[in-house]
């Protein structure tokens, strides 16, 4: 029987999700459940002079109104497993105590019988604010005399750097060509369609907390909750069944979650908080807000001699987690898939009185934005086609293994192959001819690419292992238990495929249980494009021993050597004599109910747990995004014409799942390049707190996305590579380059994002072109 891995196995999640019978956190109902609503700051920065909750408390149906004094002192310990307790962290109070630090900062939490009543009461909480001058613009915050946090004068969260920039000065001084660009990327954010949400139920007699959460990592929610409340970890149970998108946003609990957990321990019934969309766009966090000055030194033939990046990133007021550790990746990955003999970077992370930075699908994406825009700009300035410049500098198979100038070790990647495949799918020469003809008619067509390498399944201490338990029930049916955290990642389907293959079971005999910390092995959850390789490792590790036991039992009963048996379709049969066989059900029956018939030394039952430990620091994936567009210089509208992704994620577990991840990530990047902007005015008021203002791409803006695959196995389990994040890394830079290419005849260079119609019209006008 052909393996299931590699096939378009229909998703096991679909029947419940298509019929409205999934279980998202807002679908959880508990006896006597209460509902929370936050009172949030309407100003960007102010001292809290007084809070009067008396009128709110008088309202029928209101159980409690919590302010900082009621909750914040309940925090026992507060840190994320990824960072550990010793890492320098940024402040994270449950409720604002002395000062509010962004519009949306939670000041009080109302608890009432339903959300309607809780919102009524929230309006009755009176807060006196003494306004302070806010630090809205992170880019000037380092020079500000005002501090977002008094603990951090000058607003610097932290700084990381490679070798000193001065060391590169001679290369730049002597180079025939030096090109520099400054790119300013706007704030945009993950925006899962399901907002944040949590239900917490405390049992005082038992000293147990049960939590239902919209999360990418139920086990991290459990660890965090246990530390926060000072409750033993095994007395906390976290359950998630369906989570409506995460994209990094739901990888860690945030301040509102802390409030709900702390308050629940004081309440007689479960407490539910479901964020509304306005709260989400105000307070769930921002990402991508950063800028950098990127420089390139080239020789006469367009070969890169050196590259540098001076990068500054907005942390907002309360980042989740501290951005310093994860922000390092921007500088480390800046060299990308190019032969760049030397270079360096500096990254600074800066507080502002805005929504805090959160993880977002490819959190280091700015490395690609800075590098790929720099390459296109360099090509145009030295009079070379950007395609040709890349061909001269891109890493090829014969260059591997290698390390970039920051010491990142590359192998098992195919950037050049994906680049050429994407160009061939386009028919690049034909496009250039079409572009030339269009220009002659006063139409502006452009081509942009982005090629990147991406570390997946990174083996941090938190992420570097993953467990699985496989239980073959007495009937021969199989349950596989993994930590879960699937938020649309199709992890149930892929785990079932992998397990069926690993055990030789028919796929309809395999089911999976995920997302409940009381049942599943510990695991870090979904994030860092880790689930494919890491669960494949966990299942292989666990299934191997179980398979041996199955075969040993069958061989003993059939009186044949184990080597003569094959295990497929839930049946162990003698090679060449298929009549002589036992079904998995018969083998399970022996294992559970006929201990006398067991071979010596083989334990009874058919259950095993295993834990995979990745020996790989990371598993590299890579891709090229390519798009063509037409820009209307009068309206500033950008129409995407063709969109091509050529990627190498190794052998695919399920092509439909892989394609879905690439499509989704790509469209998030399209939104980031052209539409989405979590903007603030100069007083720090958020300007995009509804979907009328925060513009997400719809089916009419998105082109058909064409995919090409190059398949190079990784050294990891099954040769698989992670694929969750890449689409969101490569797309925005490719689009920016396409628009820049379209407008190049006008002398336009792009330095500020997003490329809204208004900003494009402004660029065209600044270039001095008269529009009709």
């Amino acid at each position: 029987m052909a393996p299931y891995t590699g096939t378009r196995t229909p998703r096991v999640e679909d029947p419940r999700l298509l019929t409205g019978t999934g279980t998202y956190v807002d679908d959880v109902v508990r006896p006597g459940m209460l509902h929370a609503c936050f009172v949030r700051s309407p100003v960007a920065r102010a001292r809290i002079a007084a809070i009067d909750v008396s009128e709110a408390l008088r309202l029928d149906g209101v159980h409690a109104v919590f302010v900082a004094q009621d909750l914040n002192s309940g925090v026992h310990e507060q840190w994320y497993t990824l960072n550990g307790p010793e890492d320098p962290d940024t402040p994270r109070p449950p409720l604002a105590a002395d000062e509010v630090r962004f519009v949306g900062d939670p000041v009080a939490m109302v608890v009432a019988v339903d959300r309607y009543r809780a919102e009524d009461a929230a309006e009755l909480v009176v807060v006196d604010y003494d306004e302070l001058p806010p630090v809205v613009d992170y880019a000037t915050a380092l020079e500000s005399t005002e501090s977002v946090h008094a603990t951090h004068p000058g607003n610097l969260v932290g700084e990381l750097a490679g070798r000193p920039m001065e060391e590169l000065a001679p290369v730049f001084e002597d180079a025939p060509h030096v090109v520099g660009v400054t790119i300013r990327q706007q704030a945009y954010c993950p925006v899962p369609l399901e907002t944040r949400g949590i239900v917490a139920e405390w049992s005082a007699p038992a000293g147990e907390m049960t939590v239902w959460a919209a999360t990418q990592s139920p086990h991290e929610v459990r660890s965090f909750c246990a530390r926060l409340l000072g409750v033993d970890e095994h007395r906390v149970r976290v359950v998630m069944r369906d989570t409506g998108g995460g994209f990094g946003q739901k990888v860690l609990p945030q301040r509102e979650d802390m409030c709900v957990l702390l308050a629940a321990a004081k309440l007689p019934a479960a407490l539910k908080w479901i964020e509304d969309r306005q709260e989400h766009l105000m307070a769930a966090g921002q990402a991508r807000h950063e800028h950098g000055e990127a420089r390139l030194a080239l020789d006469d033939e367009g070969r890169i001699l050196a590259a540098t990046l001076d990068h500054v990133q907005d942390a907002g007021a309360y980042p989740t987690p501290s951005p310093v550790q994860s922000g390092l990746a921007v500088g480390l990955l800046f060299p990308g898939p190019y032969r760049i003999p030397q270079g360096t970077f500096r990254s600074r992370f800066v507080f502002s009185n805005t929504s805090g930075r959160v993880a977002y699908r490819g959190p280091w994406q700015f490395e690609s934005m800075a590098r790929e825009v720099l390459l296109d700009t360099a090509a145009r300035r030295i009079g070379m086609d950007p395609v040709e410049l890349r061909r001269r500098n891109m890493l090829r198979r014969e260059d591997l293994p290698t390390a970039n100038f920051n010491g990142m070790p590359y192998d098992h990647i195919t950037p050049y192959e994906t680049f050429e495949q994407a160009l061939e799918m386009l028919d690049c020469p034909a496009f250039r001819r079409e572009q030339e003809q269009a220009r002659a008619q006063g139409r502006y067509l452009g081509l942009g690419t982005c090629t990147y390498v991406e570390p997946t399944a990174g083996a941090t201490p938190f992420h570097g292992t993953e467990g699985a338990t496989i239980r073959i029930e007495p009937s021969g049916k199989v349950n596989v238990y993994v930590a879960g955290g699937s938020c649309g990642n199709s992890l149930e389907t892929t785990v079932v495929q992998l397990t069926a293959d690993a055990l030789g079971a028919a796929i309809e005999d395999v089911s999976t249980i995920q997302g409940d910390t009381a049942l599943t092995p510990y695991g870090a959850g979904t994030g860092g494009s880790r689930s494919g390789p890491m669960t494949a490792g966990a299942i292989a590790e666990t299934a191997a021993g179980l398979r041996d036991r199955i075969l040993a039992i069958a061989g003993h009963r059939l009186e044949v050597a184990v080597e003569k048996l094959e295990l497929t379709g839930s049946r162990a049969s003698v090679t060449g004599d298929p009549e002589k066989s036992l079904t998995l059900a018969e083998i399970a029956d022996i294992a559970y109910f006929q201990p006398h018939a067991m071979p010596p030394g083989v334990p009874a039952g058919l259950e095993a747990s295993g834990r995979y430990r990745s020996p790989h620091l990371m598993i590299w994936a890579n891709a090229t995004h390519l798009c063509t567009c037409e820009v209307d210089i009068v309206t500033g509208g950008v129409k995407l014409l063709r969109y091509i992704v050529s990627e190498d994620c190794g052998p695919m577990i399920n092509p439909s799942v892989v394609e879905g991840q690439i499509y989704g990530g790509t469209v998030q990047g399209i939104g980031g390049a052209l539409y989405e902007h979590l903007a603030y005015d100069e007083d720090g008021n958020p300007l995009a707190t509804t979907f009328m203002d925060y513009l997400l791409p719809t089916a009419t803006e998105v082109p058909v996305i064409e995919l090409g695959h190059i398949e190079t196995p990784s050294p990891g389990p099954g040769g698989h590579k992670g694929v969750g994040e890449g689409g969101a890394i490569g797309s925005a830079p490719a689009i920016v380059n396409a628009v820049a290419d379209a407008l190049a005849p006008l002398g336009v260079e792009i330095g500020r994002l997003p490329l809204t119609p208004a900003s494009i019209v402004e660029l065209v006008e600044q270039a001095g072109v008269m529009t009709p």
């Binding site: 999640e13 298509l18 369609l193 399901e194 649309g488 990642n489 439909s656 879905g660 996305i705």
Partner: protein, 160 residues
């Protein structure tokens, strides 16, 4: 506060009677009072389309309709789309076959919207499909599988 109001609504074929506050949205009535949690709330201001239900066979956003406005009406939610024995409708089956869903949160809104759209326009062009889908937001699929699913459902003879 205004007095509660008696309403009668037929939901997925079952008659429901309730006494509700005038400000209760149809979405909350379906989710909380009827326990039909398939209708999802993604924005509560009428943009994302996740809460789309059929009100007298017309697709509406249940977050923008008060339960009292639906008094006397027939409502179909995503729970009422498949056969009683659980067999997926043509639209639902096409979404599954073409990977038209990932996290599934927007899916009920898409399924209901597309069901209404194909009932009204059984043979749409590709452009009409994209225009019809533009009132529903999805963050996972990039719409590729969804567009293909609607095309496939429309191309089936028995789509309606």
């Amino acid at each position: 506060m205004a007095d509660d109001i008696d309403i009668r609504i037929r939901v997925n074929g079952l008659p429901r009677r309730a006494t509700v506050p005038p400000r209760l949205t149809l979405a909350d009535f379906l989710r909380v009072n009827c326990g039909l949690t398939g209708t999802h709330l993604g924005c509560e201001h009428g943009v994302c389309g996740a809460c789309t239900v059929l009100l007298d066979r017309e697709a509406v956003r249940a977050c923008l309709v008060f339960a009292v406005q639906a008094d006397g009406s027939d409502v179909t939610t995503v729970e009422g789309i498949a056969s009683p024995d659980g067999e997926l409708s043509v639209v639902q089956a096409a979404f599954r076959e073409h990977h038209g869903l990932q996290c599934g949160f927007c899916t009920p809104g898409f399924v209901v919207s597309v069901t209404a759209f194909l009932a009204e326009n059984p043979k749409p062009t590709d452009e009409e499909i994209r225009a019809a889908l533009s009132g529903n937001l999805c963050r996972c699929t990039g719409y590729q599988g969804i567009v293909n699913a609607v095309r496939a459902a429309a191309d089936r003879e028995d789509s309606v």
